[in-house]
């Protein structure tokens, strides 16, 4: 207690220098919490949106289907061996995928045709719009919905018509006109860019892949069933990919971004710690006489080192308190309103909303507190070790104090 009190009083005695260090460290502390919160929030939002718009809680795909290789699509379709009650339970949403070309405004655009049940409710895609075309148009063209990104890149608007060309199951080219029934906004670029969603049955007829499917999006209830635990034969030897695996890509991207942001955080922290280190070095140089006095009064060297180490570490504790005073209202405000993201930010490669809502978990805050305290303790201890080599008689001859 004596060492702590003495350290605290010494620190307060340093006046402005202490508060300058504390302020810089508090900025570093709040910024680290903010960055981590932003990334965690982004990660959470990306996962939630991806589940809602694209993956559901699992995917049952044709054994030949590779989402990263469009050449597999020609063969990656079939009639799955899923039990009828599973299909009827609306927990397995069939999607058929085919390669195609579109000719919007006279340009050639390679697209992915995706067939989806207009009545589905498993994904957030507004597939009901596919049934919204007025009679007359519905009979002559294929209704399609596209995302905002696709609409912008192809120069299409709701109500526009464009020709698409595809190959059926026998490899024969065919072409028809589609009408854009609606343009949806989504944070998930992978259901938007280069994709055209049409009714599932229409695509099946167009391609001759009657009753066939490329993959199923699995709902939450079915994802938790024991069906996936046993032999693959239970679900027609297709490949079941659980949610954790589907989310790996998102997590990898977020982790990569976290690395970049950690560098910025580390730089900020280093600046703050450098200030503490400098203060400690200066303090030990200037306060030699005081150190000598402590020794003369009967303090052991170890205890004097402890006083100076605690003195430096209290910077961190004060910074956390100060950071809490101005950081909590600021971070709470940002959590309420979210961080606006620029238009181009969805090119980051994963779902990102117009605003990212930061998520501050207790674990993240506590680990940041621990990081700041431990690093401060280390940089405070390093210069304080010099005291161990100091002779009391030399220290008492110090010039100042």
């Amino acid at each position: 207690m004596l060492t702590f009190t003495l350290s605290f009083k010494n620190l307060m005695g340093n006046g402005k220098r202490t508060w300058l260090n504390v302020s810089v460290l508090s900025v570093a502390f709040v910024v680290i919490v903010f960055f981590n919160g932003l990334l965690d929030g982004w990660n959470k939002q990306a996962e939630t949106d991806t589940i809602a718009w694209e993956t559901g809680y699992g995917r049952l795909s044709h054994p030949l289907y590779d989402p990263y290789d469009p050449y597999t699509l020609a063969d990656a379709h079939g009639i799955p061996g899923l039990p009828q009650e599973v299909i009827a339970g609306e927990q397995a949403l069939p999607i058929l995928v085919a390669q195609a070309s579109a000719y919007p405004n006279g340009r050639l655009v390679n697209i992915m045709l995706k067939g989806i049940d207009p009545a589905q409710s498993l994904l957030a895609l507004p597939s009901r719009w596919l049934d919204s075309l007025p009679e007359g148009i519905r009979e002559t063209t294929i209704p399609a919905i596209i995302g905002k990104r696709m609409a912008e890149s192809a120069g299409l608007e709701a109500g526009d018509r464009t020709v698409i060309r595809w190959r059926d199951v026998n490899g024969t080219f065919d072409a028809r006109e589609v009408t854009i029934a609606g343009i949806f906004r989504t944070n998930v670029p992978t259901v938007d860019a280069g994709q055209l969603w049409i009714p599932l049955e229409t695509l099946r007829q167009m391609t001759g892949m009657y009753k066939e499917t490329t993959y199923f999006v699995i709902g939450e209830e079915l994802a938790g069933s024991s069906l996936w635990i046993g032999d693959k034969a239970g679900y027609g030897k297709w490949d079941y990919t659980p949610l954790e695996v589907l989310m790996e890509d998102i997590e990898n991207v977020v982790e990569a971004k976290k690395g970049g942001m950690m560098v910025i955080s580390a730089l900020l922290l280093c600046i703050a710690l450098l200030a503490i280190f400098d203060t400690q070095v200066l303090s030990i140089f200037r306060r030699q006489k005081e150190i000598g006095t402590y020794m003369a009064l009967g303090m052991t060297r170890a205890k004097v080192i402890t006083v100076f180490t605690i003195e430096g570490t209290i910077h961190a504790l004060l910074a956390i308190l100060l950071g809490a005073v101005w950081g909590i209202p600021l971070l709470a405000l940002l959590r309420n309103y979210g961080i606006p993201m620029p238009d181009m930010s969805d090119q980051a490669g994963l779902a990102i909303g117009d605003r990212v809502i930061p998520a501050y978990s207790m674990l993240m805050i506590l680990s940041t507190v621990l990081l700041v305290v431990i690093t401060s303790l280390i940089v405070s201890y390093m210069p304080a070790r010099k005291i161990a080599k100091m002779q009391p008689t030399q220290a008492l001859k110090g010039k100042l104090v």
Binding site: K9, G13, G298, T300, R301, P392
Partner: protein, 230 residues
């Protein structure tokens, strides 16, 4: 060493390295200081007064010979044991007072007792008693920066006496004081010496201090030149 002896120095040498050679700061010192003495080591600058006081105060160790202080050979003590000896047995009064600037007068005096882990109630009594001895009880909550040099030195005396040490070492205590303050602090120290039986050992070259001493040891070039009772 008899029970009455507080400090015994035998064949004591202290050498420092100076450039390529060695500088002998103290040579063949043989001295004994008894309980309740009010003695001074006198000599010009560089004669070895402070070095001798540092060795007695276990802040330094002899190169040769032995220094036995309160029954302990300072040269054989570990850092921790030397710190304990200083904490419990020896009080220091420095030329520049060496008060802790961030502490109040009360806290400065209390500091040594905190190191000894003295209970709070006893601590308070002893601190106030010490401050009353030096006439600064009413300034207990002041900061050292607000005191005059004489008052600071009186706080240093209170700080050294509060733990009731057997020995107080005062290194040039009057160097920064005028004659009135010098007289005042020496009167206080003499009174404490008489009332508590504390041994005082000064290093000084101040005539005003010498007038109050009972025994003066003259040092010249690190050797005892004269040892006389006054």
């Amino acid at each position: 060493m008899t029970d009455n002896e507080i400090v015994t120095l035998r064949d004591l040498y202290k050498r420092f390295s100076a450039g390529k050679g060695l500088l002998t700061a103290l040579r063949d010192i043989n001295l004994t200081f008894g309980k309740g003495e009010f003695s001074g080591i006198v000599g010009p600058s560089g004669s070895g007064k402070t070095t001798l006081l540092n060795i007695i105060g276990s802040l330094d160790t002899p190169t040769e010979g032995t220094a036995t202080v309160l029954g302990k050979q300072t040269g054989d003590l570990s850092q921790k044991e030397a710190a304990a000896l200083r904490n419990h047995g020896i009080g220091f009064i420095f030329q520049t007072y060496n008060l802790l600037p961030v502490y109040s007068i009360y806290e400065n005096v209390e500091f040594a007792l905190l190191l000894q882990k003295t209970p709070a109630r006893e601590r308070k009594e002893r601190v106030m008693e010490s401050l009353q001895w030096v006439g600064l009880a009413d300034r207990a909550q002041s900061r050292p920066a607000t005191l005059s040099g004489g008052e600071c030195q009186r706080v240093a005396i209170a700080r050294s006496i509060v733990k009731r040490p057997a020995l107080i070492l005062a290194d040039e205590p009057s160097a920064n004081l005028d004659s009135v303050n010098t007289h005042h602090i020496l009167k206080t120290m003499k009174q404490l010496n008489r009332e508590l039986g504390t041994t005082f050992l000064f290093s000084t070259h101040d005539e005003k201090v010498m007038q109050h001493l009972d025994r003066i040891i003259y040092l010249k070039d690190g050797s005892v030149e004269k040892d006389e009772l006054c």
